[in-house]
Symmetry: C2
Subunit: 336 residues, 2 copies
């Protein structure tokens, strides 16, 4: 991070017509945005939500409320601008980009960024999700997507995903990387009942027993018990960090992906902004594992990038605050 | 609330391409907005932040970090578009209206809505803040302000305030109305030190001892230990409820004012939306006393309406969600 820009930002904020620190997280955000971009008034005009899509062999264990074909159907819905993330992105002035990094079915649509690494993972309850090489390719897909969008002028990113069943590998990855017990971390995803929840817990435990992931090897964890879109999003975070671009992370899956990125390159943490605290059980713990605190508390559990894109306004508010507020001196106001 | 519109809203939301309930608070918000406005797609184009300004005789007890003249200086700053609330309002496409309901100094500025009821309150540590009649006039000022803005086409409101020292009467009002102990409820306001905090606690206790407010008489509580801008904001909430308009409340002072409104007219609770949970100590308890849960968690403690106006985007997102998302049927997506 650009230390000088951060100091300059903190200095400017201290002169604004408000009690010191009274804008809380918006002040921290503004200072870190200055540190990331090197500017007190960065151009955030072009904003991208990168939605990584992938399928999960573990769906055959019956861990999700929705059938697997919904991944493709929902990607189609996103491409047609009908999903929640599209609605919120339109409101925020952001563009949604869907990437097929690991969908089972081929979807011939020119609006889909076709970068399929493999057609869905294998069932993690029976063996590794994918090879180490495939996981690395999926990460690379995320990095490349950011690079290409940055070349087109995008300067603020949000992570999103679509992949029926993807809270199951996300829980496995979180437990594998942090040691958080599986029971504390497996949630209801899109809305499973108690019976399926117990089944899902058993499946995650079985995946960890069968694959024996090494917590110090994030790439190994991703390939053994992860998913292609999770790896892809880890790549989005790494790409943003490499190019010094701010990235807002969404819910449970995105946050687990970001955790993988910070294990691969710890400095990538500096470029992350948490958006919301979701209803999904493991999300709070995943955020805490990176010492991130969210700004929104909406009881959401949809994914897609919906929470992240809602937080764009707050990041922009923090920049506007730094640039548009009067100072004590300019407004002739007595200090405390 | 329009029950039929609420049912229709819930029905429509259940058909949208997302797991049931997965947008959490945004779904509740959309349903309640339909109930308030009677429409699934209400016009929220014109949005107003009403900032009530008043001064507090209790400042002579040394309870605030800022000198009392800052009330007038900050109102001037708001009229000149330099305060934080102006910046966030501009971003949200909302207009800020400052009302002098109880400022000590007269400010001759045509942009100020001049409705002074009296030039600041008396010191609540020594006697009542104002007469019962003055409190009623201040409430009426809030009602009238909403009526006039509604006539100009404003359809969504936020409450804001400016008044050096106003967390002190707000704490007294909250304790008087709810029985929450003073120690649990007095906070640092704009940023007082430990010594001043102890002093402030003593002052609030003294105000309650001297004035003996009756918890079942909200108007009496406001006149004995309240403030003119607090009463004015209670009027804004009552005016919104009377005209069936949604109102977003800001931090501690606004929330205490809303609590007064709900004690005067319990049905006004239906028209309130909480925005953020502030850093001010009593705010969480004030929200809980009305069973309101906030959407933003930004560690703010500025007031002015800053948190409320930041939440406008979230209310608008909830309406857009209801109107712009595809349905399972239109998008051809398999249900759970």
């Amino acid at each position: 991070l650009h230390e000088a820009a951060m100091e300059q930002a903190a200095q400017r904020i201290s002169q604004l017509t408000k009690p010191p620190g009274s804008l809380g997280k918006l002040e921290e955000t503004a200072v870190r945005m200055a540190g990331i971009t090197g500017s007190l008034n960065p151009d955030l005009n072009k904003k991208a939500v990168v939605v990584m899509a992938g399928d999960h062999g573990v769906c055959e264990e019956g861990v999700s409320a929705f059938p697997q074909e919904v991944t493709t159907q929902m990607v189609q819905n996103m491409l047609s601008d009908g999903a929640a993330v599209n609605v919120f992105a339109r409101q925020a002035g952001a563009d949604v980009f869907c990437v097929d990094v690991g969908m089972r079915e081929e979807l011939a649509d020119p609006r889909l960024i076709a970068r399929n690494v493999r057609r869905g993972t294998d069932n993690i309850a029976k063996g590794p999700a994918m090879t180490r090489r495939e996981a690395a390719c999926a990460i690379w897909t995320g990095v490349e997507t950011v690079r290409e969008l940055a070349e087109k002028g995008y300067r603020l990113f949000a992570t999103g995903e679509m992949g029926i069943g993807n809270t199951t590998p996300s829980s496995a990855v979180l437990s594998a990387l942090t040691g958080i017990p599986v029971e504390a971390n497996v949630g209801r995803g899109t809305g499973i009942d108690d019976f399926t929840l117990r089944r899902k817990r058993d499946v995650v435990m079985e995946a960890l027993r069968v694959n024996q992931p090494d917590m110090t090897d994030a790439l190994g964890v991703l390939s053994k018990v992860g998913g292609l879109e999770i790896a892809g999003l880890a790549g989005v975070v790494l790409g943003c960090a490499y190019l010094r671009l701010p990235v807002v992370i969404d819910g449970f899956i995105s946050t687990v992906a970001a955790l993988c990125a910070t294990r691969i390159a710890p400095m990538s943490r500096d470029f992350l902004f948490a958006s919301h605290r979701s209803q999904e059980k493991g999300h709070a713990a995943a955020l805490e594992s990176m010492e991130l605190t969210p700004m929104l508390e909406l009881g959401m559990r949809l994914g897609e990038g919906t929470g992240a894109v809602l937080a764009f306004t707050l990041l922009e508010a923090s920049i506007r605050m730094m640039n548009e507020m009067a100072t004590f001196e300019s407004a002739g106001i007595s200090k405390a």
